[in-house]
Symmetry: C2
Subunit: 455 residues, 2 copies
């Protein structure tokens, strides 16, 4: 057998700890502010929505956080995820670079999201919670939490943005297969949903509205909590299992990355692959370049402002300091539904501000072109979100070709595109366009950022 392409770890090598980058930050994260008082919040402020274990993970500065045994048991269904050497892609590009990718599409839900859905459901079960509510846009997160809820005997209610609910019935079918209840948002189940429908009965919904509905349900019911699939520190913490495994697998391949690439929406899959490498660099190890790839239509890291902002459009959530396009910013329609968030995870934003990483933005047709090239070479049809990471990795590989360098490039292939083939159909039919956001709207959204005296 010639050159190895798959680097597999047995299930007894599933990491025993997540990596917490807060332990190694040269400067701590700015505090989270209460939306009413604009003062730093404490654990009790979050208690109506989250179990205390997750709230403590939000703020801990311990470097290693133990992965509970019942979580590792469920991780065994698909983890450790494989690391691939993309030899056929390298050949197609004619690059001297060595391209590796971690493939998170092997999870039941087809993306990295179960890495955090499983522990979130577990900690909620331990806290006696009977129901979890959440929102979903593209559907990856709703699917993952549905699966996790089923595993730990928690009822899951998913508010799916109505336009997505209508256009992607198959996503709903997956959630129902896992036993979840899926509602189109705005719904008649919440006060907020009813108020929106009263004004506009055919409202197509938005992620902001769906978040508000899910939060309302959780805040009003003692046995119900809320779960979020990205942005928060504990979510990013759970995703670091990606990078920890990748580090061990790259050791099997006897290499260390020169560049680490991930796509960014809320920031969780990027953090998952990148944080363990950034942390190793902060502790004196090698410092690979870290590259976040975002959509040009929703470019929070490359065009947003680093400022305090709300997480939702209704301004019910706490304020965090992050790269934001303004909570009223609405990106043009594009197909990577998982990358449509107006803000960026505070931890990722902080690292960007500290100069510990780079960011670059690409248009979606470029990304689909990269994804199709990848599919033909490697077989896997990637999710539209993942195509951004592929595009970033290919650009690095072509740079290596120009410069005659055989660098090691690692990227995260965060999921497959099996439920997103409508986007590929649009791409092949030429109906996919590179809509730009409205510069005037961005300026207005940024001018509307809340005024906060720095703490």
């Amino acid at each position: 057998m010639s050159d190895q392409i798959k680097f597999l770890l047995p299930e007894n090598r599933i990491p025993k700890h997540w990596y917490n980058i807060q332990a190694d930050l040269p400067k701590p994260l700015p505090p989270v502010l209460h939306p009413g008082t604009m003062q730093p919040i404490g654990p009790d402020d979050l208690a109506p929505l989250f179990p205390m274990e997750l709230i403590m993970q939000e703020v801990t500065t311990e470097r290693e956080v133990e992965i509970p045994e019942p979580v590792r048991e469920i991780y065994k269904l698909w983890r450790p995820a494989p690391l691939y050497r993309a030899r056929r892609l390298e050949e197609a590009l004619g690059t001297p670079a060595k391209i590796f990718y971690k493939y998170e599409g092997v999870s039941p839900a087809g993306s990295h999201k179960p890495n955090t859905a499983i522990p979130q459901a577990f900690y909620n079960q331990q806290a006696g919670i009977k129901r979890l509510s959440t929102e979903t846009g593209a559907g990856q997160w709703g699917t993952s939490l549905s699966f996790a809820g089923g595993v730990f005997g928690i009822d899951v209610t998913v508010f799916q943005v109505r336009v997505s609910y209508d256009q992607k019935p198959y996503r709903r079918a997956v959630m129902e297969t896992y036993g979840a209840r899926c509602l189109p948002s705005p719904s008649t189940e919440t006060e907020y949903g009813r108020s929106v429908l009263a004004q506009r009965p055919d409202h197509p919904g938005s992620l902001g509205i769906a978040i508000s509905e899910a939060v309302e349900i959780a805040a009003k019911n003692a046995d119900t909590n809320y779960a979020l699939g990205s942005v928060l520190n504990h979510v990013l913490l759970h995703q670091t299992i990606i990078g920890i495994e990748a580090m061990e697998q790259l050791e099997m391949a006897d290499v260390y990355p020169d560049v680490v690439v991930g796509c960014t929406g809320g920031g969780s899959n990027f953090a998952g692959i990148a944080f363990p490498f950034i942390g190793a660099g902060l502790r004196g190890g090698p410092k690979p370049r870290i590259v976040a790839v975002e959509p040009a239509a929703c470019p929070s890291l490359t065009r947003g402002k680093y400022a305090y902002d709300f997480g939702d459009t209704a301004h019910l959530t706490p304020l965090t300091k992050m790269h934001t396009l303004g909570s009223t910013f609405t990106p043009p329609g594009f197909h990577a539904g998982g990358l449509r968030y107006h803000g960026m995870a505070p931890l990722v934003s902080h690292l960007k501000e500290l100069g510990l990483m780079e960011a670059v933005a690409y248009h979606q047709t470029q990304c689909f072109e990269a994804g199709v090239l990848f599919a033909r070479a490697e077989g896997i049809v990637p999710a539209p979100e993942a195509n951004h990471a592929i595009k970033g990795a290919i650009e690095e590989a072509l740079r290596c070709k120009r410069e005659g360098k055989s660098e090691v490039i690692l990227f995260n292939l965060c999921g497959h595109g099996h439920f997103d083939m409508a986007a590929y159909t649009n791409y092949f039919s030429g109906n996919l366009v590179d809509d730009s956001y409205d510069e005037a709207e961005l300026a207005m959204a940024l001018s509307g950022l809340p005024s906060v005296s720095e703490v």
Copy 2:
């Protein structure tokens, strides 16, 4: 870490040979007959459609057929496929049985079909063929050949049954992602297609028509061959890699199966998991029970006649002796599109006739119920075809529970259901019914079997 659930093999353990059960048959296969002369055909009769390597694999009695190195290189993209112990399913059933499943959904196309698509494309490339034509119904085979053609630089034309082409646009998108050309059948590209359209411009198509179109293209063009995804001996041969790997993985788990279960349409995934175990039994090893599970709506093994019949509705193909419902039999609409064939692979039929295996039929709602139970326990959402194998395995596990036996059950999970979620939507909405075939129609189809004097 407690009990192991995943049994992985490194890629250097990909088998070097396929297993040919023709070497161990106590009685040879009846010959294949020419549709014109009704006399046994020779290799030259098949040469317009297939490369000589595949024709020779059709008839060889060598026990081991070497897997070419370029094929093994591509197999590395997903093989060896994982073997799972379904511990959570066992718990859900409360059975003392040990349930193992081989998971073929990890392939790029999401099923076992690339196991044969890759070698078929390779041998055709070696023979100088520039284009492959084929048909597809559900889409698994068309997807797999599209991928394989792309890998070996062969243009692939897929005739997709028009109703499926219209109802499953995402399948087409996957085929196009891999670079294939996908046409609705009946099409205007063939004489036969034009003749069908002349009679009925809105004809919904059928697998029989699509086969005829694909064969016509191949027969008329010297640089074009035809490829079939099941039924033929060489296809079943290529699939034996499933059982060969499973045997090695069960050794890692220190068990040998008491029962081996697979679903049957044309017979290829069933043969893949079962033949290596049947062969070991024929050579003096242990003899597990071998159970084929078929849909009650298209029950060729349990209700068909073992007789010579045509492979297609237009009666252009050679005649083979097989369990058949009659080539004019039309099963009622049901969702396991891969299990709608009127006949059964001659090798599987022969083994059934020799008493070396059993067969059982289940209705589709029972199978979806089993699939949903499986998905909630194990995470993977199975293809409707695979749900039949799951149903069969669950029934065996429940028997073990009744009998207090801790037997080892092995089944083949031949693919995921990501492109078949419409069927799950129908199941949850209660719109899935257990249509039975028409007994009178079956009787008529069987009475119309060709009259052949036994050779």
